[in-house]
């Protein structure tokens, strides 16, 4: 196919997609995220509670250097808990013990962390999600 032909084919695909979307809005109206949220609830994924956003920023500073491991006892890896448990809120109920231990280690981690990670907020994030998953 010539370059003109490829260009016309791409434009036709885009135009058809646009037409379909306009048609769907005209027929069904704007549906918003209702169905999407319902699907998430069925999966027990949950949505970040509104108040949680206020301290999410403080939990996203980790650069993965691992130096906070020295705050824990031999065998404890707080650096791995920090990066793992805040990325899987659906598993918050399973991570509660780690979150509570992180809260205990938070002052020592703040002293060590080059980025000033506030690990107690990671714990609160997990506890908030756990409460939501329990329906509280």
């Amino acid at each position: 196919m010539s370059s003109l032909g490829r260009s016309l084919a791409a434009k036709w695909i885009l135009a058809w997609a646009l037409f379909k979307n306009i048609l769907r809005v005209l027929v069904y109206g704007v549906r918003g995220p209702r169905d999407w949220l319902a699907a998430i609830r069925a999966e027990s994924l949950g949505v970040t509670p509104a108040g949680t956003w206020t301290y999410l920023a403080a939990t996203s500073r980790c650069i993965g250097c691992g130096i906070c491991d020295v705050a824990g006892r031999p065998g404890e890896r707080p650096s791995q808990w920090i990066v793992q448990i805040i990325r899987q809120p659906a598993d918050s109920l399973l991570a509660l013990d780690k979150a509570r231990r992180l809260a205990e280690l938070a002052p020592a981690i703040a002293h060590l962390c080059p980025q000033g990670m506030q690990a107690q907020y990671v714990s609160r994030l997990v506890e908030d999600h756990a409460r939501m998953l329990r329906g509280e």
Binding site: I63, G64, C65, G66, I67, D69, V70, G72, R73, P74, G75, E76, R77, S79, A110, H111, L112, C113, P114, Q115, G116
Partner: protein, 435 residues
């Protein structure tokens, strides 16, 4: 009233604090938390630039590498200070560091600027050039033919250290660098624990654990000339751990340089903290705000609200990792005093991220050279003028050079830290300054 207030508790900040105090100043050291020093590898990078030294085998002294950097890197701190001042400050800063490292048993031999870079084994399986290193990492120089067969220790079950990969990588690099084959063989032990570098290092502080390791090694060391171990040889008493393992095995023990998380970096940071404490230097927390009076810095305020006035200030807050340089909605800038940031390629502006492609592949990304511009006295500049007459900068907050690819971060921290501390004292009223 404080004479000199140093902002930053890493290598450069502590060098500046010790330098100022040794010249009679009353010093306060402000730091938020550990910075990039606590993540360093254990090597002490003085000067080496692969982009300027394409033939790695070519013998060049450390002083010649400093001259290379001055000749080819117009923004480099060595160039800012000039050759004579750089070499003098390097020697004096290094002597200061030796005193810091002595109590922990980490002090390497004195600096020989007429000597060459060493070829040290890194835990990534490559040979890294370094001007010096903390004592546990010395004992092998892969720039020279390796005498005898060395074992490479691996703890079975640990994923952070692969002896086989390490042995093959180091042997290949050694062949290239020295022209002779190096014989390295994996030595594996299973002690049951699986806990990562920090946890293992904590175990090495216990003599009982070293005894268990020596027992596990029995029968596996026949014919070995030495043992290369992962960088986990003790957190609080690495000198004792190394001594005990040497006695029990009868072999020289060398630790590889670390990647993150770095036990050697933590040891270095703790030695610096101990030196600050031993010298009676007061510490305060993070500095959150400042007040200027005319052309001078009048006072700073800690995050806890304490206001502190000093005659002179040293900024040694590091770059992105340590929080000294940030890129936020206001662009790329120095975090505390809002100083403009420059890179090796020029000014860094909010709307113009610098190119990621450099002329030679061994050059670093321009943003890795981002920091403040300074004059010959190490005073930060704003729009071509000295920002504050009594503010000096040291270490990685200085812009225009790359730490990783110029392999000079520790040398810059020692030299500029020493020099900034001296210059700060000189502004107080006539004390002699090197420059």
């Amino acid at each position: 009233m404080v004479d000199v207030l140093v902002i930053g508790g890493g290598l450069a900040g502590v060098m500046a604090a010790l330098s100022a105090q040794s010249q009679g100043a009353k010093v306060v050291l402000a730091s938020r938390s550990y910075g990039a020093t606590a993540l360093s590898t254990g090597a002490l990078d003085i000067a080496f630039n692969p982009a300027l030294s394409p033939a790695l085998q070519q013998a060049r002294t450390l002083a010649e590498h400093v001259m290379d950097l001055i000749a080819h890197r117009p923004h480099h701190p060595y160039d800012r200070m000039g050759l004579t001042t750089s070499l003098t400050a390097l020697r004096r800063g290094y002597e200061q560091l030796l005193q810091v490292l002595q109590p922990a048993g980490l002090a390497p031999p004195p600096l020989d600027l007429e000597g060459e870079n060493l070829g040290l084994p890194a835990s990534t399986g490559t040979v890294i050039p370094a001007g010096a290193a903390l004592l546990p990492h010395l004992g092998i120089d892969f720039n020279r033919p390796l005498a005898g067969r060395w074992g490479v220790l691996e703890f079975l079950g640990e994923t952070f250290h692969d002896a086989n990969r390490l042995a093959r990588g180091l042997a290949a690099d050694a062949q290239t660098l020295s022209g002779s084959p190096a014989e390295l063989i994996p030595v594996r032990v299973a002690l049951g624990e699986r806990m990562g570098p920090m946890g293992l290092a904590a175990l090495f502080d216990s003599p009982e654990y070293i005894d268990r390791l020596a027992s596990a090694l029995r029968g596996k060391m026949d014919g070995l000339a030495g043992l290369l171990v992962p960088p986990v040889l003790g957190l609080n008493d690495s000198a004792g751990a190394r001594r005990r393992l040497t006695e029990l095995t009868g072999l020289p023990i060398v630790e590889t340089l670390a990647h993150m998380p770095s036990v050697p970096g933590l040891r270095l940071q703790r030695a610096l903290d101990a030196a600050v404490k031993a010298k009676g230097i007061e510490r305060c927390g993070e500095i959150a705000a400042f007040r200027a009076a005319g052309t001078e810095l009048a006072a700073v305020t800690t995050a806890g609200g304490r206001s502190m006035a000093a005659g002179a200030y040293v900024l040694a807050s590091g770059r992105f990792v340590s929080g000294g340089v940030v890129w936020d909605e206001r662009g790329c800038r120095e975090a505390l005093f809002d100083l403009p940031v420059v890179s090796a390629l020029g000014a860094v502006e909010a709307e113009s991220p610098l190119s990621v492609v450099r002329e030679t592949p061994v050059e670093s990304h321009p943003l890795l050279t981002a920091g403040v511009a300074v004059d010959a006295q190490l005073r930060p500049l704003r729009e071509g003028r000295v920002a504050f007459a009594n503010l000096f900068a040291a270490g990685m907050i200085l812009g225009g050079f790359a730490s990783r690819y110029a392999l000079c971060a520790d040398g810059v921290a020692m030299a500029t830290g020493y020099q900034a501390g001296s210059a700060a004292v000189a502004t107080l009223g006539g004390a002699p300054c090197l420059a």
